[in-house]
């Protein structure tokens, strides 16, 4: 066991899988010698060499397309997209190719790639370093979407993703790379030092894809969240003294529907929290699923707390960010009825 922040945990996951499987390779803009703009791949090139860890041209089409070809050869590529905001140029390769290959070739070819990408706001990154595009990918059949919220999960989920034989989009909540975030931009930042999930085994372990974590057991309302928002939600209920059950989804597709259903049937109320814009965000799917499956248990409408339907603003970041005030209001509203 060691104390790790989320970057170190991700680095460790890459290191461990590369050590076990010579077919795992890491590629992307600035991931090689330099070790990535967030340092997630630091040290890997020195250890595993330039043919297994290398910088790429700046073309996301190419990064994903080349990774698919390598996957078809038999490698297990882990391409990085430097910011999730830059994944759109690669969308065709992800949707029409990676996600479809197994099905359209009836298993003749597969794309066992794991696309890593930092996502989300809270770092004054402006429009193009803050987006949360996960909702788009959850609509695409044939690709899995994974989002960790702690160093422990980040490592275990990333190992599971790399070892998975299907394409996985692994989105990393960059706001909490260095420490959990309680949603108060004006308070001192924390690090992972004292968080239990900052304790990370140095060896190989997996957190299975498709399993949620109930990070707080509670009775009065169920909060569904992932990534940074898990911590903001936890802090909000603590501040408000609400006995909420908080489920960290961890994998969006395939979803751990059992955990969700059991919890909402118990509490009768549900609030969904994500940073992504509201309309057609993954919260919509969650809301639809919850009302379809727990309709007769619901005592209030399912609420969504999300990013607003605007581009991510630079200066108004903290007015935009779904913070404690908005989560708190939603909780009060849901618990009023």
């Amino acid at each position: 066991m060691a104390r790790m922040n989320m970057i170190q945990a991700i680095n460790s996951a890459l290191e461990v899988t590369m050590a076990r499987d010579p077919d795992v390779i890491v590629m992307g803009e600035d991931v090689g010698y330099f070790g990535g703009v967030f340092r997630a791949t630091a040290g890997l090139q020195a250890k595993y060499g330039k043919t297994r860890v290398f910088d790429t041209p700046i073309t996301e089409i190419g990064i994903v397309g080349v990774a698919i070809g390598m996957g078809a050869y038999g490698l297990r590529p882990v391409p990085e997209i430097q910011f999730a905001d830059y994944i759109y140029p690669a969308l065709d390769q992800l949707v029409s190719e990676a996600a479809r290959l197994r099905y359209r070739s009836a298993g003749d070819f597969t794309a066992p790639i794991t696309v890593r990408s930092p996502y989300g706001g809270g770092i004054f990154g402006g429009q193009t370093h803050s987006q949360s595009p996960e909702g788009i990918f959850t609509h695409v059949s044939g690709i899995k979407t994974v989002i960790p919220s702690t160093p422990y999960d980040a490592k275990g989920l990333l190992i599971a993703a790399i070892e998975d034989n299907d394409p996985v989009l692994f989105l990393e909540p960059k706001r909490i790379y260095n420490g959990p975030f309680d949603g108060h931009y004006d308070r001192p930042s924390k690090n992972w030092g004292s968080h239990p999930a900052g304790e990370v085994p140095e060896d190989h372990y997996r957190v299975d894809l498709g399993t949620a974590a109930t990070v707080r057991v509670g009775n009065d309302v169920t909060i569904l969240a992932y990534g940074t928002m898990v911590h903001v939600a936890l802090n909000t209920i603590e501040e408000l003294g609400i006995d909420a059950e908080v489920i960290d989804l961890r994998t969006l597709v395939p979803l751990d529907i059992g955990a969700i259903e059991a919890s909402v049937k118990k509490t009768g109320r549900c609030v969904i929290v994500h940073e992504a814009t509201r309309t057609s965000g993954f919260g919509a799917e969650l809301s639809a699923l919850v009302q379809e499956r727990c309709f007769h248990h619901l005592e209030a409408p399912v609420e969504r707390v999300t990013g607003f339907d605007t581009p991510y603003p630079h200066s108004l970041e903290w007015a935009y960010f779904p913070g404690p005030v908005r989560i708190g209001e939603a909780l009060k509203k849901v618990m009023k009825d």
């Binding site: 041209p57 190419g62 080349v66 698919i68 070809g69 190719e97 290959l101 009836a106 034989n165 529907i257």
Partner: protein, 423 residues
Amino acid sequence: MTDERARANLQPLSLHVPEPRFRPGDPVDFADVAVPPVDAARRPDTAADPRSFHELAFGLVRVLELDGTAGGQWNPRLSPDQMRRMLRNMALTRAFDERMFRAQRQGKTSFYMKSLGEEAVSIGAAAALADDDMCFPSYRQQGILLSRGCPLVDMMNQIYSNRGDKLMGRQLPIMYSEKRFGFFSISGNLTTQYPQAVGWAMASAAKGDTRIAATWCGEGSTAEGDFHSACTFASVYRAPVIFNVVNNQWAISSFSGFAGAEATTFAARAIGYGIAGLRVDGNDALAVYAATQWAAERARTNGGPTLIEHFTYRAEGHSTSDDPTQYRSAGEPNAWPLGDPVVRLRDHLIALGEWDEERHAQMDRELAEEVRAAQKEAEKNGVLGHGMHQPFETMFEGVFEQTPWHLKEQQAQMIAERQAAGI
């Protein structure tokens, strides 16, 4: 809304929009298509610096003259047996296309795409590559599968989406996937295979393998961003890959000018990336063979990628959904100055005394029979009709390696609904 501004001394700009030379009804004259003699193009060493043979991107590598003789530095000097095999594969491709096109017209399937007039492009390349080199084709390289011995019945089952279709009816006709023949799953989205081929080639190089990759796209498809990403990656990592651009002059109804052909050749794209570029008479099976062999040798000796433009002509419609007489002169296919690839190789073999009209006719009869028999066999597994030849539950399988709950639930729901409805 144009701002009318005061640059009175400047001439107004104008927009150039390309226009092909012949439209329906126009008489066709291809006299300006340069057909250099076979000895015009030199053959550089496969290790040569690409900058030392830029002119090959603007000329035309040719081996077969139109009179049936062969010559020049690029002559691969194949044995008569090798050439007869190529001739047969081209004729087989043509017979297969003809039959399947007709099957679509008879309502037996939804779609078909011929490669009429372009057979040398696939067959010449397949002959020059090793059988385990990996191909990332577009939809018009059925000739590769036929060259590599893919059973006709398998191909037809796919075209019919019938019970025998190994792709389980999931793909549009001709979107084959044949890993055992080194033939990657064809995509409906143009040019996506280009970076994938580079990735496969890079993986092969990273692993110290000896196999190389080859990929194909049409001249129209070169405009996609994937083309550029692929060429850039291949140049940077010197990937052992062959890029083939099949310039058949048309992209559905748009002539090659809309892909940039008015300004330069497609082989010239190679110069932009500092990689080897060759422009080849695509109706000359021996030239295609020679260029592919050269590029394969270059790739296999870590010399990196080659881009080959195959200058040819799409003698038929784009697909069964297309009627080319709507947008081009009906005279074009016959006027094409580079002739018919089958006729050209046949005439060469005849000139060599290794073939004759009689044997050719006999071969055509045999191939027609072979195709007909395969068709009969395939149709035992059904033709498309309203589809639904596969068990419905298979629709949910293979989206992922393990089917997750939501797909299982949808599967169960569908079956229950169908039962409830008595279907």
